[in-house]
Amino acid sequence: MPSHEIQPLLLRVADGDAGAMAELYDATAVFVFGILRRMLWSTESAEEVAQEVYIQVWRTARGYDPGHGSAWSWLALLTRGRAVGRMRADGSYRDAIADLVLHEPFPGPLDPVGPPRGEVAHLERAEAVREALRALPGDQRRALELAFFGGLTQREIAYRIDTPLPTVKSRIRTALMRLRERLAPVPEQ
């Protein structure tokens, strides 16, 4: 699922092409569903939110601007936003998920090792991302995972791990900058 392959699909979806929407779903659903299951720790919730994600894609694809980023990053952040919305609808549920994120390194119990999905290039890229995450200092990785997958705000992270807010913000910023450095853009064919 290289991003350059789904970008034309997303642009066709923006023009109201339902056939492109089906192709986009087929190309991305396993990744979107994987993110949601990791974040929500519930197959049922992941299924509900996945439906919301694709309906929002259909409704808001016109707002996607290739100049602002790749189609995948647009879809990934939209998916995360929907998942966080579901988490915030139930604070105690979110706390439980944050605990899981805090204490379960990748891969978590809902990320079983099974038959590989996707193309070799994608699998290699995914492993590179995991390797880059593992290479981060533990406090930076933890803060980044809590923010992205745990759905906590940086202020909530500071409270939860009993660390000053500026320190948390600095850890997340540094972690992202290190990820940027390690994951230099892959030339697209």
Binding site: A18, Y54, I55, H68, V84, R88, V129, F148
Partner: protein
Amino acid sequence: MIRPAKMSDDQFEEQAISHLLGELDVNGEIMFQEELARRGAPAGAMLREFREALGELALAVAPADPPPALRARVLWSIGAPVAAPDAPPAAPRTFWIWAAAAMMTAVAVGLGVWAGRLADERDELRAHVGRLEERVAAAETAAASSSLLREDLELMAAAGSTMHELHGTDPAPEAGGRVFLSAGSGRGLLIADGLPALGPDRVYALWAMEAGDARLAGVFRSDAAGRGRLEIEDLDLPAGAIFALTEEPAPGGERPTGPILLSSR
């Protein structure tokens, strides 16, 4: 609105991350967008790199096969020519909670008929159903608010969006607001605060005014804190037009009759 001192590069990068994680409130988002515009292309490139890094981060998660029925439900929901899915597409979570609630009620009633000594359990189950209903309502409200804010921010951040600053006039010097317009779509958003309290039969009306012509962009009521929000649809803004906010008798008319409280001039 109180403006913070000039941001350092580190602070701006932290704001960029907060923006991408959806942590900024409306005012924070406005200030971030202004700073982003002020810093120009290098800041845009930095934001894009952070966005890509977060997108890559999502790839760390193992892919997972969604239930096969989900595809049909998604395509059915957008009106694609597919057979109607077996399960209803909307609010399955609510459905299951209600189904569980209904089942528990039925069980509780059955126990009550069968043996009076189980009446207490029945009442407890009914109370549990009530609590479940309250949680469903609270969850739906929170989800709706979150979704609304995200849609607002998407419109503000959309490419080609323009912003029009509205200033309070003499009748409402504390009021202020901003109109965001999405290029070409006619869609927009007004965010206002500091508005005077409205009477029960009054509304605020937003107008696009140009050369003596006034086009109604929409009406709304403010909340108890004087904040207002209006979604604008299909507004064809003439060149040189200004925005003005007036107070009008509900439900609003075709021409402004009240004094101008906010103006983009």
